[in-house]
């Protein structure tokens, strides 16, 4: 594993980590456990189409501007993980991963150990693979998972038990995101974005349906800085659809400047109107949404992005660090790059 800084003037502020295997899942740590000057730390999940996969943990030294692998915290993982996420509280060194089921790993001083396997398979001996999950920031006991068996399962991770399981959609659920301690939204292959409230499990609300029928919606991101807004992406589409939950059905904006399909989206953790998207065209674009008062002045050609970064290959994953909002991580091919905003 090497780390290098790009020397070309174009990428003078992009720092690359070369991984031995293709990387898909990535997660930023809320902060580092030990060092006083916290530096960005990333967990990288490999994508190997086999049972044996790996999760590596690397940290980035902002002074030396280089990556440092932490091999003690690397561990083997069954199947490629679809998502990795650290516990929202900085002092809890837990990492959650989802592949065939949800697992919690404890990243302690002497390495990574499995803490629990949360498996809701009941008697069949087979649990439906998870497509994604989200850890509730406000209520860290809760993790919501989405699965191809059309259900979303809410886990109480402290007890290691299922809190509830909802049949969320008519088809596979592809992504889930928490908004409030008891409210989450999910997107599905049936092309809808639905909001669920755990206090009233009987009802869910569709706030958007993709215009072409049965176009799956693949990814969902809820703006944590401004809970009014969510963004979603569609299959084989270069559009990022931004929704206002107060005005369902009509998107606030459709951001259409990618030259190929969009693979990942991430809202800025602290700024309320900025979102970053990355796609198969190898570009990462940062957009600024107009304020509501100026919404009427958007030109008919649509909104242009503010900033662009061009990587060399299709970007598969994008994460915006909440602990260090000036760093964005992207993953393409075997590389992970940290971009400074």
């Amino acid at each position: 594993m090497e780390s290098s800084t790009q020397e070309s003037p174009l990428n003078s502020n992009a720092f690359t980590f070369d991984s031995p295997h293709p990387v898909y899942a990535m997660a930023f740590s809320p902060s580092t456990s030990s060092s006083a000057a916290s530096s960005p730390r990333l967990a990288l999940g490999s994508f190997i189409e086999e049972y044996g996969n790996r999760v590596d943990v690397v940290s980035f030294d902002e002074d030396a501007l280089s990556f440092r692998a932490e091999p003690a915290l690397s561990f083997d993982h069954p199947y490629p993980s679809t998502k990795l996420m650290f516990h929202p509280h900085p002092h809890s060194p837990l990492l959650a991963s989802a592949s065939d089921c949800l697992r919690l790993w404890f990243l302690g001083p002497d390495g990574a150990k499995i803490r629990s396997v949360l498996d809701n398979s009941k008697s069949s001996g087979y649990c439906a693979p998870l497509t994604s999950f989200d850890w509730n920031d406000a209520e860290p006991r809760r993790i919501g998972t989405s699965s191809i068996d059309t259900t979303c399962t809410i886990w109480d991770v402290e007890r290691g038990a299922v809190e509830t399981q909802l049949i969320a959609h008519d088809k596979e659920v592809y992504d889930i995101a928490w908004g409030e301690p008891a409210v989450f939204a999910s997107v599905s292959a049936d092309g809808s974005v639905r909001i669920f409230d755990l206090r009233d499990k009987e009802h869910s609300t569709i706030i958007y349906e993709s215009p072409l029928p049965d176009t799956p919606l693949l990814r969902l991101a809820w703006n944590k800085a401004n809970l009014r807004y969510m963004a979603t992406t569609m299959m084989d589409s270069n559009r990022v659809v931004v929704l206002d939950i107060r005005a369902p059905a009509t998107p606030v904006a459709e951001l259409q400047r990618h030259c190929a399909s969009v693979n990942a989206i991430a809202w800025a953790p602290k700024a309320a109107r900025h979102i970053c998207s990355a796609g198969d065209d190898g570009q990462a674009l940062i957009w600024e949404l107009p304020a509501a008062a100026a919404a009427g002045t958007v030109s008919p050609e649509g909104i242009d992005p503010m900033l662009v970064y061009t990587a060399g290959a299709e970007i598969n994953q994008l994460q915006w660090s909440a602990a260090h909002p000036d760093w964005i991580a992207i993953a393409f091919a075997n590389k992970v790059q940290l971009l400074r905003v």
């Binding site: 499995i114 693949l218 674009l285 971009l339």
Partner: protein, 647 residues
């Protein structure tokens, strides 16, 4: 190109009067909105500060000191002066309370947006390389920025009203010109500006000399404002503009300017009850605006001078906080909008509400269950609990990103299956479970799952089931699965045979025993009639009860594990019946057994019994009385009943 100019000419051109007039003439000539000259600060090296400026944009209200007619250029000059004065007053401290402004001077509500922008520009400073002026200064090249309102804050961090902006390094400083219209980059224009600037300002000066000499003095006076003096004599913010106690506010606020804006924001809010309908006002709330100002780094001495005289430093700590080195002025623009026409506010809010209501209508039609109120409640909860967060994205100067422009060199077009990795991740990955994987040798620590989690579990379950099956089959010797299955098959066949035989036997016995079935089984009759198929034991032992009557060789009962470890075996050979039993001992058990046997027309010939550990083991040889017909099963059942009684 400018620094090559003659130094003397530079200094002359930069004398205050000339500078102002140059700026004025330049801007007017090209019909732009404003011009600012940034020059290196004399107080702090490496910093560009406001040196002078000329405002040529829209003006809202005019205020005149004398009712004299002024020419256009003079009006412009005066306006610029007034703006400067206003700036001075707003940035002044709380010593202004007692004094009032002369009526001619501007008050904040007189200004248009662009004028506010111009005003705020006065507060800016730039370090070398920072912001447009800084960059132009260091690179010594002009910068033309189109669509400034879309520019990110890294490049152009000030208000977004100007649509086009040009910064030209010039004469030891940077000349900045801006306009509210889109003007495409035109190097000829730049040359024109710079060359024009170098012309000696005779025409302007001559115009000026025609007008009242008082203006000149005012020029000087205004140009060299000694704000210390001004404070007492000059303007105070008008009372009716302020909502709260100024003193208290000014203590709280980092800057007076901020306070001024804040008061207007508050006033506008107060006047517009519509604000409360908007749960999260898009325009800046007062808290946000003050937050903005608080967040900048205070720079004690950064107000600097206008290049001419040293404004006393004590004035400026609060002003220092006005440095907007990093922040997007969106909130400022918002505040501007709040400050300026209140009507606009009403309209925009109403529009927003209208849109919301309209959308609510469509939203209702979308709901799964038509329960609008539930969703509304959810939304209300979400938004009530959400904290307003600043809207800024701080973009560092070393960003990896570049500004996006239309027509940016497009990357090589992507040919291939879109979103391959994403689709693989999301698709049904069961195929990885069942096939294709090779690594079975690898096992993770601590996890029971082997190479194939699913089949491992299945295998365990299968094994368990085999064990259960083995326990059911009496004659299993080997443990491996094929032999278990074989033995099971054989046993099943045996059972089937027995069932057939028993059923045929039952039919014959039924005929004889039917009428006796109703009698109580314990009645001592000649022919005991235990053909009531009463199961003393639980149904599992049915196989044992169905033993063929004639099958004496197989009459050996298998080890029956009744509830209470009662074992009874009856062997019949012609008329001799051998009964063995093993059961928990109790009082009178022997007696009852013998009694029941005699009831069954069995005459005991010999009895052997022993009691060990509370268990009775008994062997009885008996003889069947000739007249009776009894089957071993029948005998057994009755004995079992006896034993089972009162246990």
């Amino acid at each position: 190109m400018c620094r090559a100019m003659d130094a003397g000419a530079i200094h002359e051109a930069l004398s205050p009067k000339h500078l102002r007039k140059q700026l004025a003439a330049t801007v007017r000539k090209i019909q732009w909105s404003y011009a600012i000259f940034w020059s290196p600060s004399t107080i702090q090296p490496g910093v560009l500060v406001w040196s002078d400026g000329y405002y040529n944009g829209d003006i809202k209200t005019r205020k005149m000191t004398q009712p004299m007619e002024l020419k256009a250029d003079q009006m412009g000059l005066q306006r610029s002066k007034q703006l400067r004065e206003l700036y001075g007053s707003l940035s002044a401290g709380d010593n202004n309370q007692q004094t009032r402004r002369p009526s001619a001077s501007l008050s904040p509500e007189d200004l248009t947006d662009t004028e506010w922008y111009y005003l705020v520009c006065m507060t800016f400073t730039f370090t070398l390389g920072q912001g447009l002026p800084g960059k132009a200064f260091t690179s010594n090249q002009h910068i033309w920025l189109n669509n400034a309102q879309f520019a990110d804050s890294k490049i152009f961090s000030r208000s977004l009203l100007a649509k086009t902006l040009v910064c030209i390094p010039f004469a030891g400083g940077v000349l900045e010109l801006g306009t509210t219209e889109q003007v495409l980059e035109d190097s000829a224009l730049i040359k024109q500006i710079t060359s024009f600037f170098w012309e000696m300002p005779k025409p302007v000066g001559s115009e000026k000399s025609v007008s009242s000499p008082q203006m000149d003095e005012n020029d000087e006076y205004i140009l060299c404002p000694n704000l210390d003096n001004d404070m007492d004599s000059s303007m105070a913010l008008e009372e009716h503009d302020l909502r709260s106690d100024r003193q208290a506010a000014s203590e709280n606020d980092p800057t007076h300017l901020a306070f001024g804006l804040r008061s207007y924001a508050a006033a506008a809010e107060h006047a517009q009850p519509i604000q409360d309908k908007v749960e999260e006002p898009e325009t800046v709330s007062p808290d946000d605006s003050s937050k903005v100002y608080c967040l900048t780094r205070p720079r004690e001495d950064s107000f600097g001078t206008d290049g001419l005289n040293g404004i006393s430093r004590t004035r400026n700590p609060r002003l220092g906080a006005l440095n907007w080195n990093e922040y997007l002025p969106m909130p400022f623009v918002g505040a501007q909008r709040v400050v300026t026409s209140a009507k606009k506010e009403i309209i925009s809010n109403q529009m927003l509400d209208g849109i919301e209501e309209g959308n609510y209508g469509t939203h209702n039609s979308l709901e799964l269950d038509g329960d609008g109120s539930h969703y509304a409640k959810t939304i209300a909860v979400i938004l009530r609990n959400s904290k307003p967060v600043s809207c800024f994205l701080t973009i560092s100067c070393e960003s990896s990103f570049v500004v996006w422009r239309r027509g940016l060199s497009t990357p090589k077009p992507f040919t291939g299956t879109p979103q391959t990795l994403l689709k693989k991740i999301l698709s049904d990955r069961r195929r990885w479970l069942h096939g294709g994987h090779v690594e079975k040798a690898w096992r993770p620590d601590g996890e029971t799952g082997g190479s194939d989690l699913l089949s491992e579990r299945r295998r365990e379950k299968l094994n368990e089931k085999f064990v259960v099956l083995r326990s059911l089959i009496p004659s299993i010797s080997k443990v491996d699965k094929p032999s278990i299955l074989d033995d099971t098959t054989q046993y099943l066949k045996q059972l089937e045979r027995r069932v057939q035989e028993l059923e045929s036997c039952r039919e014959t016995a039924d005929v004889s025993g039917r009428d006796r079935r109703k009698q109580h089984p314990d009645v001592a009759e000649r022919t005991s009639d235990n053909y009531i198929h009463k199961e003393i034991t639980d149904g599992r032992k049915a196989s044992a009860n169905k033993r063929k009557a004639r099958d004496m060789d197989e009459a050996e009962a298998e080890a029956e594990h009744e509830h209470h470890c009662v074992e009874v075996s009856v062997t019949m050979k012609e008329k001799e019946v051998l009964v063995k039993m093993h059961c928990p001992w109790r009082e009178y058990l022997l007696l009852e057994i013998v009694e029941s046997m005699s009831n069954l027309h069995l005459d005991p010939l010999s009895v052997q019994s022993s009691t060990v550990d509370g268990m009775l083991a008994m062997t009885v040889k008996s003889k069947l009385r000739s007249t009776t017909v009894a089957s071993p099963g029948m005998i057994k059942r009755s004995l079992q009943r006896v034993i089972g009684k009162c246990l």
